[in-house]
Subunit: 385 residues, 4 copies
Amino acid sequence: MSTAQKLKMGMVGGGRDAFIGAVHRHAAWLDGQIELVAGCFSSDPEKSRLSGEDLGIAPGRIYHSYEEMATAEAKLPEGERIDFVAIVTPNFLHAPVAMAFIDKGFHIVCDKPLTAQLEDAERLYKAVEDSGLIFALTHNYTGYPMVKEARERVQRGEIGEILKIVAEYPQGWLADQIEQDGQKQAAWRTDPEKAGGSCCLGDIGTHAENLGRYITGLKIESLCAHFTTFVEGRPLEDDANLLVRYENGAVGILYASQISLGEENNLTIRIYGTKGALAWKQEHPNELFLTLKDQPIQTLRRGNPYLGAASQRFTRIPPGHPEAFIEAFANIYLEAARAIRDRKAGRSTYDYDFPTVGDGLYGMQFLSTAIRSAASGEKWTKFVG
Amino acid sequence: MSTAQKLKMGMVGGGRDAFIGAVHRHAAWLDGQIELVAGCFSSDPEKSRLSGEDLGIAPGRIYHSYEEMATAEAKLPEGERIDFVAIVTPNFLHAPVAMAFIDKGFHIVCDKPLTAQLEDAERLYKAVEDSGLIFALTHNYTGYPMVKEARERVQRGEIGEILKIVAEYPQGWLADQIEQDGQKQAAWRTDPEKAGGSCCLGDIGTHAENLGRYITGLKIESLCAHFTTFVEGRPLEDDANLLVRYENGAVGILYASQISLGEENNLTIRIYGTKGALAWKQEHPNELFLTLKDQPIQTLRRGNPYLGAASQRFTRIPPGHPEAFIEAFANIYLEAARAIRDRKAGRSTYDYDFPTVGDGLYGMQFLSTAIRSAASGEKWTKFVG
Amino acid sequence: MSTAQKLKMGMVGGGRDAFIGAVHRHAAWLDGQIELVAGCFSSDPEKSRLSGEDLGIAPGRIYHSYEEMATAEAKLPEGERIDFVAIVTPNFLHAPVAMAFIDKGFHIVCDKPLTAQLEDAERLYKAVEDSGLIFALTHNYTGYPMVKEARERVQRGEIGEILKIVAEYPQGWLADQIEQDGQKQAAWRTDPEKAGGSCCLGDIGTHAENLGRYITGLKIESLCAHFTTFVEGRPLEDDANLLVRYENGAVGILYASQISLGEENNLTIRIYGTKGALAWKQEHPNELFLTLKDQPIQTLRRGNPYLGAASQRFTRIPPGHPEAFIEAFANIYLEAARAIRDRKAGRSTYDYDFPTVGDGLYGMQFLSTAIRSAASGEKWTKFVG
Amino acid sequence: MSTAQKLKMGMVGGGRDAFIGAVHRHAAWLDGQIELVAGCFSSDPEKSRLSGEDLGIAPGRIYHSYEEMATAEAKLPEGERIDFVAIVTPNFLHAPVAMAFIDKGFHIVCDKPLTAQLEDAERLYKAVEDSGLIFALTHNYTGYPMVKEARERVQRGEIGEILKIVAEYPQGWLADQIEQDGQKQAAWRTDPEKAGGSCCLGDIGTHAENLGRYITGLKIESLCAHFTTFVEGRPLEDDANLLVRYENGAVGILYASQISLGEENNLTIRIYGTKGALAWKQEHPNELFLTLKDQPIQTLRRGNPYLGAASQRFTRIPPGHPEAFIEAFANIYLEAARAIRDRKAGRSTYDYDFPTVGDGLYGMQFLSTAIRSAASGEKWTKFVG
């Protein structure tokens, strides 16, 4: 199956007013390889219908529930039914929705974090592994070409052994209690029933963890987490600061915040090794800073011939023509689509470059460790993976 | 006609190895409102066929020539035939291709500059005006939300009367004679037969001119152009430096270069008025710098509530989640698509926000004035519009 | 006594090859109000002599020991003897040298940290308080005008109540064991006998702590410190990461590192409040970033009329003409000199803007708390002040 | 004569409220090698007296006129009389003051531009050459270490043959007619009697020219100058835009502006060669950007061991501890002082690194060429040197 033949995507979640559903659609559409043909866009059937109409979905394939959707799509003939489903609901629905589609043999692209609860993550992980289906988790920041370049440079040993990782993810959008004012994005993220045991660290801190692990491959040995809820009446933390020890002896600072006014989406990572250092900022994603010992700072810029294969493969346009968030997100889709086409073609699998259900499980173990640390008087707590 | 119903696009040019054709396709696809259904992707029929297959175009709608395509598409029933054609050929073909499709009543999205020769531009302008068809020229940098914000601020009088514009567009990719080594992008741009009377100023300087005019509305009164060809054997200039006088008495510096090593696509504009100043850099497009007299520098960032309606309308994702080149390009497509759907629906037209054939004609008059100035010993030369 | 009459300065430490002694001299000289007339520049008498000769000090006032110097200078007639002494030795000598000069009634400018051991700091604090002498500690980063501006904005309530402070001080110069290769700056800083119980946090982390407290006035309630020694064979930590709770409920991250390759002297502070945020970077010290809720980022630049009195008072040249490290350092000297002249004139004291022995004692208490936390398995430890 | 023995400086100009006089004093004092012992600080004797008192000058050496000062100082015994005079008056006085001191055999440090009129510059040049005295012109931007690094890199051929220079110097402080409101700095700069035939290009554009020539060594072949006076009633231009041809075939853009709101002192230079490019911004002077063909951008930072000898020689403190405007200015003084001490010691001269009377004459020739071009309808005009 060539890329010329579009993959058929279904979507669960992502109705009117949703944020991340729209991002997934742009990402799926960008490269002309995927078409959206079915969906259950909301738990409210009327809203699902209206959202589907907005999107030009055939009426018969706008569903009232995800269970109905999984069942109905599975009955459609191959070539007509969806090739995979994108799950873009609040966290607590990831597991049940995914299980329903796995049951029917559908591949999955799922938003992060993997689930709301660790046990669900473990169950889902097992189900995916047993099924042999493709499961891509949209830790989208790993889709940025310069993040891939950073990883390749680390793997090549350019900065030596890693000594320290500083990963920051400050935002300011939850500085006020906007969840009370009907802001839906805020409402479910601050609701333990829907988000799980963490707001801030689960929503964005897991991205910071994943980014560090993607680039360096380092696993956490133990951590000390300090959670704070600054906005009164909010049941989950809106600020989380962690000290980290990695298995190789490296140390880390990892923090996430949603009450840091003036910050938008300032995910930043700095990695220090015995031979040099790397730094990357999501808000200026086309640049990667590399400093080798006793050398000038190098600004590596996306699209240039001096970059490695991993970054080049996920670059669409020349240097100086910036790519950004949607393009990086689309790189996860591109790679998941490649895996799905390979699977359909019966080709043996490659080493695909997208975050997996295993990454998602690791993220939930990280989150669970941090929640335990924070709950126990911010004690250093061993990572259990 | 709602956005749910996809517009059908044809494409002329943009075969394998082309740069700008791929950008047009990403831009058309990004928002899920346009599908590519037909094309003549190369003047080489075999290459056109292969390119069309790559893109999943039905064999019957991959054409051998643009004339054939215009004729054949016009014969297809409405609802099946293309709604518009995207012209992404080298400059010298813009006019004949556009004329062929105008003859058959098709709307057009065309790459810039409008034509290779001024007379063609004048003829094409007249034909478009007479036809009443939609014609969008992809001066894509005006699609950036923060450029629209700059324009709105100027229109609102925030920086007062404009005194000075400094518009720069340095690149370094033609510092060597790569047109001799089979680099196709370089080959046609440096060939007077295909590019017209200018390489550097035509290819990128017209963007700088258009950007300044889009933001300020100012027209040129006269200019003094210094063209240089640094790479031996190249028949057209690869560096162009201009002094400018605007009709309102403002002054300007406008320069473009393709031999400036270290520069990628560093389009930058600074606008100084009697009350304040604006600055914007294409390589970091989500930020606009505004300084009002005796006030701190303000960094305005895309997606924030403090921005005006024009920028908000062309924003897809929240602040801190950067948008970039393809999104800005897609904004031209979004707006052209809106115009085409309105036309199909028989709705009276709005004040659409995309560059028109009139902008293209102005750009060719600018180019022609600069070529005359450069050819006459770099004399100050009156703009004839 | 007007500024026209130069104050006479003596110096202890700062011989050939010293770093900070030279900085103190530039700072003292910059404004033409202070002259260096005496010194004991090294514990090695020959080196002291050569260093003094380099500096044009009269032979009779180049001393072999600081005790001799204190005694001899005290015997000189007023108008000839030094007005104050600058102490620029390794940490462990600050206390004995200071005590010797206090005994003889001399004012003091002393490098930081206050002492090597907490008990010395307590003793010195008491001696200074009892003596009524001027004692300025060169936490020089508080001398930067834009740091003063930050403080004034916080005091004025512009960013509301403080919620979070992120203070970073990464350097990379001790990534190798250069103390073995005769690098004197490295040698004493990594020697517990000379530096005290901490290398990295004492040398630079105390600056970060002081900077945060200077700007916000917040005191620490408790902290959790993670010390690491990355370079084998080094007896003190070269990397220190801290989580902090402040008395008002604010949280903090404070870290210092000397093994972060690629970092030079990247002291950075970000302060988040309920109404806005401030950020400042020492390596670009003329800019202060202020973001008020729902407003664009403001870049405040030194020397502009929109700034407050505190920053203006310590500004020498117009905006855009950058001032830097030595100027900020000299601001501590300017203010100490003002205090000393006032004292000599018998004027009642003002609220001088320089770090005091009390700030130094607080810094040592901070350091001591962190050392205890790190030594006790990185437990949260209550600040004892 | 060692640096330990302070040189004695006199000053003409630089009274209360002057800007540049104070800068010269800070620069002279910074390194402890120069003391200010005499002066005629204003043409108003009372103001001269008060200014001298502020500075602690002995009453007998505060003079009423520069002629008196030159005569009286010459009569003092060697060792007591001044070693050199710093001339910091408005432009039109540079020549007569300098001539008076040359007559008496004094070395000179003089502010730029050399004179108000070209003929005066020619006369002064000859007088200096005939006298054999040291004459340093404070084109202070060449004192920045990273500018020296740029020069060294060009000389070493790192960026190949120079193709293009873009030198910008925008300021905004004269956007209003502040010369009417008693702003003395503005008053004389906009007065043809005192400033000469140009305001903006003379005051700051000559710095931009000098900076380009210092780094590249290139001389101008011809230029086309566009002068504008935006502020009504101002007799001289406040904005100047130039196109330039250099003798080696390189092209240039050189502009200066004093009406560009939002700009403070934004002197910037970009130099493009056949092998790479350099860029430097005065407002962040510790960084130099170097991009070699097909390589990442390198950020070279002051004080690092990878820099060349020229930059290292003029660096006082380690990387990351920023130096700035006054330090660069002081580098001119350091080097002039070295030359003067050598002369006093009868040592044969070195190749000193400070701008000379020859540089000043070249600058006046440049200015005169630009004034002629602007006055003749902005025609291309041959540089006459």
